[in-house]
């Protein structure tokens, strides 16, 4: 979790925010996830890994959460057969810290949870704060 939270991503300082977020998600989440899935037993009731994953950043604009930090939403689509399934993973990235969070149920947790780490929900992460008057 520390890896994702504390190491700032230089890529996020790039001009194109969607491209930077996409790169960050691929490097910090999808690549380690694919590596982990390589070693996983296929003889399980857990869903088998998809053939392919792709990151989408629907909006280039940042949003401020309740603790006044900026974040950008992202989504990961997956392909099993020929068809893509959208929003298999939904989450947000914090450009300043490089931290990634993913949505599980109604709550957001650090993205490390998908890599098998115990991670409690983060109540304010990825939730828009009240607009300033």
């Amino acid at each position: 979790m520390l890896g994702l939270l504390l190491v700032p991503s230089l890529a996020l300082a790039a001009d194109s925010l969607p491209a930077a977020v996409q790169h960050r998600v691929e490097e910090a989440l999808l690549k380690p996830l694919a590596e982990k899935e390589k070693d996983r037993s296929r003889f399980s009731r857990a869903r088998l890994p998809p053939r392919e994953r792709r990151v989408r950043v629907p909006s280039a604009t940042t949003i401020r959460d309740a603790s006044d930090h900026e974040y950008v939403a992202f989504a990961v689509d997956v392909r099993f057969g020929d068809q893509w399934q959208e929003n298999d993973i939904v989450g947000c990235a914090y450009p300043q810290t490089g931290a990634l969070f993913v949505k599980l149920g109604d709550e957001y947790r650090p993205a490390d949870v998908l890599l098998g780490k115990n991670a409690d929900p983060a109540p304010v992460a990825c939730v828009p704060g009240k607009p300033r008057s």
Binding site: S44, R45, R47, F80, G116, P121
Partner: protein
């Protein structure tokens, strides 16, 4: 089936690691009663690791010939299945992927195991070996769903089927198919007993199994 049981055992070790969440658990988060669910998962997996190989052993002719050993292993397997495997499976079924239809499939399979286990034990106590055999065939058939279902999941994924649909198909087909095959085998055996008597029926069954094996060996 023994190979399948070995694969399941090997892939289940991750459920006992405290520092790591297995993919099967991650995809269930958030859980309503997480502690209860995780405890049930560990009880279910541990009891399955013990009972499934025992059930395979109990179905072999070698063990069926050793009545005392068969009886004691049967008692151990029966107790663990009835008091650990089935109840923990029922708890897990309520959080099954795919909603109520999939939950119903797991509950039906568990109910068949429990029902036929009780029937089989009672039949054995009454020395009704035909009825005991039929009941235990059903128990074994439902236990084997663990293997056939996973094999089907693997095959349907290779065929490119959506995992959500594959999960439903790979549960209901083995549950219903195994029950039908068990009933078919029990029925054909019953007819053999009626026509030739128990001893001859057992001999014919051994030949029925041995013939294709010999053919493969040629």
């Amino acid at each position: 089936m023994a190979l399948g049981a070995a694969f399941i055992t090997a892939s289940s070790i991750v459920y006992f690691r405290r520092d790591e969440l297995p993919p099967f658990v991650i995809e269930k988060l958030p859980l309503r009663f997480e502690a209860l669910w995780l405890a049930s998962l560990r009880v279910h997996v541990a009891s399955a690791i013990v009972t499934f190989p025992l059930c395979i052993l109990l179905m072999t002719r070698a063990l069926q010939r050793r009545a005392l050993l068969h009886r004691w292993i049967g008692r151990i397997a029966g107790a663990v299945i009835l008091f650990a495997l089935v109840p923990s499976g029922a708890v897990l079924s309520f959080e099954a992927k795919g909603g109520p239809f999939v939950s119903a499939g797991f509950l039906l399979s568990g109910a068949l195991v429990a029902w036929f286990m009780v029937k089989g034990v009672l039949a054995a106590r009454r020395k009704e070996l035909g009825a005991h055999r039929r009941a235990m065939l059903h128990v074994f058939a439902q236990m084997s769903v663990a293997v056939t279902s996973r094999a089907l999941l693997f095959g349907l994924d290779a065929a490119g089927m959506s995992p959500d649909v594959a999960y439903v198909v790979a549960l209901w087909c083995p549950v219903l198919g195994s029950a039908a095959i068990a009933e078919l085998l029990a029925g054909s055996f019953k007819r053999m007993v009626k026509a030739h008597g128990l001893k001859m029926a057992m001999f014919r069954r051994a030949r029925f199994v041995a013939r294709p094996v010999a053919r493969v060996g040629r």
